[in-house]
């Protein structure tokens, strides 16, 4: 089921700037037993991303009510929320009075191989690099061609994700996930001030890491730092946390970080 501006529909108009310019933002989250996990955090991020682009964010209560309606028949699913700036005629200029478009849609809960959680995953090293654009960095906006190009680089069901570097060779993120590495007692995660998407799951891990006795450092992480890590994990709001077991010939032994993070995350958000 899909709701567009609160009404059942599968369509938007072709004047929508979400289509014509990718002028919008989105969220993807997990619904379990009828409960959208960590919704307040997702709404905060949606609001912040809208604000960064000066898009009017729909009120939380409206989205929440529509979510309830939407997931009534599908208590376990993936929920995607898209907010675009709204419609306009041709031209990049933004008319004075915009009405944002909100799209809520559910899809079947993602089916990843069960051993991704138990054994970890193989990672492709993408040749598609992320461009440096501080004005858009961190925002989960609709301009996602780099991700599409990167994801196109492999077609092997044994590879779960692709690692993307920025133009300077720093590891930034997966095509659909954020990245942490463990070295000693410190969790390192890439600085996303120049490119990449700062996901909700990443922020949650940063907030919770102290409970594992770890400090978190946000910094530039050249690829060599990944290879040198004790453990590497990926995270997003749908699959949770995966350990990286293999990347471009380098392999890691099974570690405990992914399971420990999953346990912490499961406790916090219901």
């Amino acid at each position: 089921m899909i709701l567009v501006n609160g009404l059942p529909s599968e369509h938007i108009r072709v004047f929508d700037r979400g289509l014509t310019y990718g002028d919008g933002v989105f969220r993807t989250l997990l619904v379990r037993a009828g409960h959208p996990l960590c919704w307040p955090r997702h709404y905060d991020k949606l609001y912040a991303d809208c604000a960064a682009l000066e898009i009017i964010c729909p009120p939380e209560d409206i989205l929440a009510a529509e979510m309830v309606e939407l997931i009534e028949g599908t208590p376990d699913c993936v929920l995607k929320v898209i907010v675009t700036r709204g419609e306009s005629q041709r031209g990049y200029a933004i008319p004075e009075h915009m009405e944002p478009t909100r799209i809520l849609m559910t899809s079947a809960a993602a089916q990843y191989p069960a051993n991704y959680l138990t054994d970890g995953v193989r990672l492709h090293l993408c040749s598609t690099r992320l461009a440096i654009q501080p004005l858009l960095a961190g925002i989960k906006h609709l301009n996602r061609l780099e991700n599409v190009l990167a994801r196109r680089e492999w077609n092997n069901s044994e590879i779960a994700e692709g690692l993307m570097l920025d133009m300077d060779g720093n590891a930034i993120e997966g095509t659909m996930s954020n990245l942490f590495l463990l070295k000693g007692k410190t969790l390192h995660t890439p600085d996303l001030g120049r490119c990449g998407v700062a996901g909700v799951q990443r922020q949650r891990i940063m907030d919770l890491a102290g409970r594992l006795g770890m400090t978190v450092r946000v910094e530039n992480l050249p690829l060599a730092r990944i290879y040198d890590a004790d453990e590497v994990v990926l995270c997003n709001s749908v699959f949770g946390v995966w350990q990286v077991r293999e990347l471009a010939g380098k392999s890691w032994r099974a570690g405990k970080l992914a399971a420990r993070l999953r346990s912490l995350l499961d406790d916090e958000c219901h």
Copy 2:
């Protein structure tokens, strides 16, 4: 009037990757007396842009037939053609069998002040910089948030366009136009191998400049080179050619380049 995949409609489905990822390309061209100007060149560019992203480009004869139908009632208008990769479920991966979405829409012929052509235009120097992304450079794709941000920088009807630099400070283009400068007998235009859109009007000028006794050089043009130019012009397929008369405090005297280029261009494409 609007045609979506050949049928009158104002809508696309929310699964369209043009919306979800900006996964598509577009063209904007002028229709005069029922004739889409330079259509063969626009189709070639549409085809090339699709090919660069491995999007299936609709056949020329189908688009041409739909254009005829579309512009029957509006012989003078602006025509926009959007081609997206098509629809898919959630996820960046591209399904094996994609059917591209084609959208043809007309809008009223653009109304710019008449003195833009006779007197030239004022240009805003945008603080929004273009990110360096060679994989997408030159392509007129649907990831246009940088243009939206740049166009948002001014709200003054006396300013016709904004000049965008890349991250290294090279002048690249206007938010909706390409750029040439004249120095002596040489036309210089920015190298678009790392960012920017390589427009049809720009290519036409490059092809025709020899007839004015000018050579064309494609190269990096730091902002200082703009200020140092004898004349600066902007071009696109809708407004044609404008002389830049003012940019960030620097002004140029009325020159002949814009009118000479317009005359050449009008002769070639009907």
